[in-house]
């Protein structure tokens, strides 16, 4: 058949698409499938006949199509002509200007209001979801590290740890599990890396606690293998669980910072809409002056004033948010991160100090780690103190006391660690245990390792709490600045539109 030649299918397809010559179309299918399908549709008398027939039908169809087009669009075209002929009259122009202005002002006001409302709700999310999640991650990280420190300390306390130590260990594990659940609840499915980190942590914690209990049981029976279990648990914590928790904490806290930065950026696009609206108002007034020879229009002036007010309001709000969000927040969030990191580091130094005692091992590793820890804590404290000085509203006095206390505790811990190391090296096990476990200093004696560590940890924890609350205060400031902006801008815009119409009314009335 003809369709089998190269040009056959092409021509055939083109003509076929023009009209209803082919009774049953197979629209959508292409190529060979089309040809095969359509073979049945060709009139049966001759294979060439369809060419003439289709061509003639296509011409006929073209005529009907244009007629139908004209039929369809005749009324709208008529309307358009009428509108256009109205628009070239002066009252037509005036109405057109007013309508366009109203639309521009409404669009600008609406988008500004929407953008502000979005921003407000996102700041709300930041304050109620993202930041608390970061806090959960912080709690997870700290509690896990604390649990390890307490478990190790309990191991040194003459075979069986005290009830208090045990209770604190359980509390830390409990808090860690709660925090893990909280974090995973607020992370959401789209943040897969964070979910994986939480899953990793939640997988390892039962193993960790299992190892700790095995260690305790063996220690109670007097089997030295308890020490091996303890060391394995601690290494699981420090090499697997804590790095995951630290990564999670970094992710969430950088998410907070990122969101905060985004939400305090000036709203350039909606602001430009407001500026455009003012510009149109000015142009319209100029056009009106050209048309009506009246220089000033009260309604337009009021509308312009209203829009300028809106711009000033939004601008001020944006500036305040940016001020609070960029400068203040950075200053508050940096110490939050570095203080958390150094508190964890201090806890781990304490763990490795105690573990050296538990494992009856050399204290060299622990000493090297200890030195880097004291450096880290010192740097974090200095940073915090510096940023504190820049804070306009911070109650510097209170924090200064805490910072000083942390510094003193750190120094005491350093010297206690020195004595601890000496005791370990000279085989004075009793003294080493006393330094590592007794928190209350005997009168007239320098504080023990345990005591000064406890003071350092307490001070750091209070400083961290303070850094958090000031960080939240800055987010809150940003939120407060966006308060009412959405509604206010909307109201101002509507008032401006009304003013435009009121201003235009007498001009229009002149033609009625």
């Amino acid at each position: 058949m003809g369709a089998s030649t190269g040009s056959g299918p092409l021509r055939y397809r083109r003509t076929r698409l023009r009209g209803p010559a082919v009774p049953r179309g197979s629209r959508g299918s292409r190529g060979t499938a089309l040809v095969e399908d359509d073979g049945a549709d060709v009139p049966e008398d001759t294979q060439d006949h369809w060419l003439d027939q289709v061509t003639s039908e296509s011409d006929h169809d073209h005529r009907t199509m244009s007629r139908r087009m004209r039929g369809t669009f005749a009324v709208p075209v008529l309307w358009l002509r009428r509108v256009f002929s109205y628009l070239i009259t002066t009252p037509g122009r005036l109405v057109a200007i007013t309508v366009i202005l109203s639309m521009a002002i409404f669009a600008a006001g609406y988008s500004m209001s929407q953008s502000s409302a979005d921003r407000q709700s996102e700041l709300d999310v930041l304050l109620t979801t993202t930041e608390p999640m970061s806090y959960s991650a912080h709690n997870l990280y700290t509690s896990l590290s604390l649990a390890d420190t307490i478990a190790t300390t309990g191991f040194v306390q003459g075979g069986v740890e005290s009830a208090g130590t045990r209770a604190r260990y359980h509390a830390a594990i409990d808090r860690a599990m709660m925090s893990a659940t909280e974090s995973s609840a607020s992370v959401g499915f789209d943040d897969r890396p964070s979910l994986l980190l939480i899953a990793d942590i939640e997988r390892q914690i039962p193993i960790y606690t299992g190892l700790i209990e095995t260690a305790r049981t063996n220690n109670r029976v007097g089997n030295p293998v308890g020490v091996a279990y303890m060391a394995e648990a601690s290494s699981l914590m420090r090499e697997e669980i804590l790095p995951a928790a630290s990564q999670l904490f970094e992710r969430t806290s950088s998410k907070v910072r990122e969101q905060q930065r985004q939400l305090t950026r000036p709203q350039w696009v909606p602001l430009s809409g407001l500026f455009a609206a003012v510009l149109f108002l000015l142009i319209a007034q100029w056009a009106l002056w050209r048309m009506t020879r009246r220089r000033l229009n009260k309604g337009f002036l009021v509308a312009t004033a209203l829009m300028v007010t809106a711009i000033l309001w939004v601008g001020a709000s944006n500036f305040t948010a940016w001020q609070a969000g960029t400068r203040g927040f950075e200053e508050a969030s940096m110490p939050w991160d570095s203080l958390t990191a150094s508190r964890i580091q201090a806890q781990q130094a304490r763990t490795s100090e105690t573990l050296a005692l538990v494992r009856r091992q050399s204290v060299d590793d622990s000493t090297a780690f200890f030195e880097s820890t004291t450096r880290g804590v010192t740097i974090a404290l200095n940073d915090f103190e510096n940023s504190e000085g820049h804070r306009p509203l911070g109650d510097g006095g209170h924090n200064q006391v805490l910072i000083d206390e942390a510094r003193t505790a750190l120094q005491e811990w350093e010297s206690a660690h020195q004595r601890f190391t000496t005791a370990m090296l000279s085989g004075d096990y009793t003294e080493a245990v006393r330094l590592a476990t007794t928190t209350t200093a005997a009168p007239g004696q320098p504080p023990t390792s345990a005591g000064s560590y406890a003071r350092l940890d307490g001070a750091l924890s209070r400083l961290i709490a303070d850094a958090r609350s000031s960080m939240r205060a800055y987010i809150n400031d940003g939120l407060a600045a966006t308060q009412l902006v959405a509604a206010g801008v909307m109201v101002l815009s509507i008032l401006a539109i009304i003013a435009v119409w009121i201003g235009m009314r007498p001009r229009l009335q002149e033609y009625l």
Binding site: R93, A96, I100, M103, A104, A107, A108, Y110, S111, M112, Q114, S115, D118, G158, G159, L196, A199, R203, I207, G210, L211, N218, N219, G222, N223, P224, V225, G226, V227, A228, Y229, A231, E232, S234, S235, L236, E239, E240, Q267, V269, P270, S272, G273, L274, A276, A277, F280, I283, A287, R359, R360, Q361, S362, M424, L425, S426, G427, Y429, T430, V433
Partner: protein, 352 residues
């Protein structure tokens, strides 16, 4: 024309401002597949901290040279004051020991005191020097730092499961052996392992850098070797089924056996090795040969008066059987003016 421009600008401004942030992302065509649920690489507790696994036959065994050993210095008739004036003057003996080797030298977790066979030996040495077994300062030395602790004179001697090998004799000076050990296997009671012949395909645990590692490479070439930091880690690995057998000296194995009644010591002796007290080689400041003679005299006394048997029975009797203290091994020395006639002068006294 002007109007039209205004209209155009308005339209643009409307389009621009009414959508605060333009969103150009269209609906994704293909549905994103659900991500796989991640599976753990291993379930349950990890391998003991700091341990490594060696595949079967990854490294060939190095020979442990226990032939051609040099003998120690035979005790003379001198008094402690003559042999070791510095230590006698100090009034205390400083001994490097382990703190975690059950039965041999370990810290009692209830009292915090050091206990064990090697601790008793150190006290006996102190008794012979000062007449007081408590005048000993114990220092903890790690396995890897035994030689350096002696070189730096941090300790007078090291009593820490130190096997006498020809290589080590280059670094330190040994006393005559105080304990003979056999290398054997410790397995779970239901493991169906009766000796090294059952080891192919199983995992053997040893501590890294020990002579047992070389023995495992030699006798169990078809087994994976788990290398840990301490023997306690090996028990942990055995209890967690990371390893099927522990290869070590029977004195160490009995210390592990004492902590877990579900383990047993099996198999023929793979090698016999003596433990000895290690002292530094003499240098310009310090003639340590006198100290070696002093230690050897104590070891001889323990054999003579039955203290050795009391110590052995106290620590190892429930787990091991022994044929007695290891033979005295002394080197031939230049004939001294007063050669003691009562001691036989063979280099090795056979006493099986």
């Amino acid at each position: 024309m002007r109007r039209r421009t205004v209209g155009l600008v308005t339209a643009c401004a409307l389009a621009l401002s009414s959508c605060g942030t333009p969103d150009f992302s269209f609906g994704t065509d293909a549905p994103t597949p659900l991500p796989d649920r991640p599976a753990a690489h291993v379930y349950g507790p990890p391998l003991p901290a700091g341990s490594t696994v060696e595949d079967p036959g990854q490294y060939g065994p190095r020979e442990i040279d226990t032939d051609n050993l040099l003998g120690s210095y035979r005790p003379d008739d001198a008094t402690p004051e003559e042999r070791i004036p510095a230590i006698v003057e100090r009034g205390r003996l400083v001994v490097g020991v382990d703190q975690s080797q059950n039965l041999l030298s370990y810290r009692d977790s209830v009292t915090g005191d050091l206990r064990g066979f090697e601790i008793d030996l150190a006290r006996e040495i102190a008794r012979d020097i000062f007449g007081d077994p408590d005048r000993v300062d114990f220092r903890f030395v790690e396995s890897a730092s035994r030689v350096s602790a002696l070189d730096n004179r941090e300790v007078d001697m090291v009593i820490r499961t130190m096997t006498v090998t020809r290589t080590r004799q280059e670094d330190v000076q040994f006393s005559t052996p105080y304990l003979a050990t056999d290398s054997r296997l410790l397995v779970m009671y239901n493991s169906a392992i009766d000796g090294v012949d059952d080891l192919p395909g199983r995992t053997v645990c040893v501590t890294d850098g020990s002579t047992a590692l070389e023995k495992a490479r030699k006798h169990a070439p078809q087994s994976r070797i788990l290398k840990t930091r301490s023997w306690a880690d090996c028990l942990l690995a055995l209890q967690q089924h990371h390893a099927d057998a522990i290869l070590s000296d029977d004195t160490i194995l009995s210390g592990i056996n004492a902590q877990d009644p579900y383990t047993e010591i099996v198999g023929e002796s793979l090698a016999s090795e003596p433990y000895a007290v290690a002292m530094p080689h003499p240098d310009s400041h310090d003639d340590s040969i006198g100290l070696t003679r002093q230690v050897n005299s104590t070891i001889e006394r323990l054999r003579r008066d039955g203290t050795w048997w009391r110590m052995y029975n106290n620590w190892f009797a429930p787990y091991l059987a022994t044929s007695g203290p290891p033979p005295l091994v002394y080197r031939e020395e230049e004939p001294e003016p007063t050669d003691s006639p009562d001691n036989p002068s063979e280099t090795a006294e056979e006493e099986q």
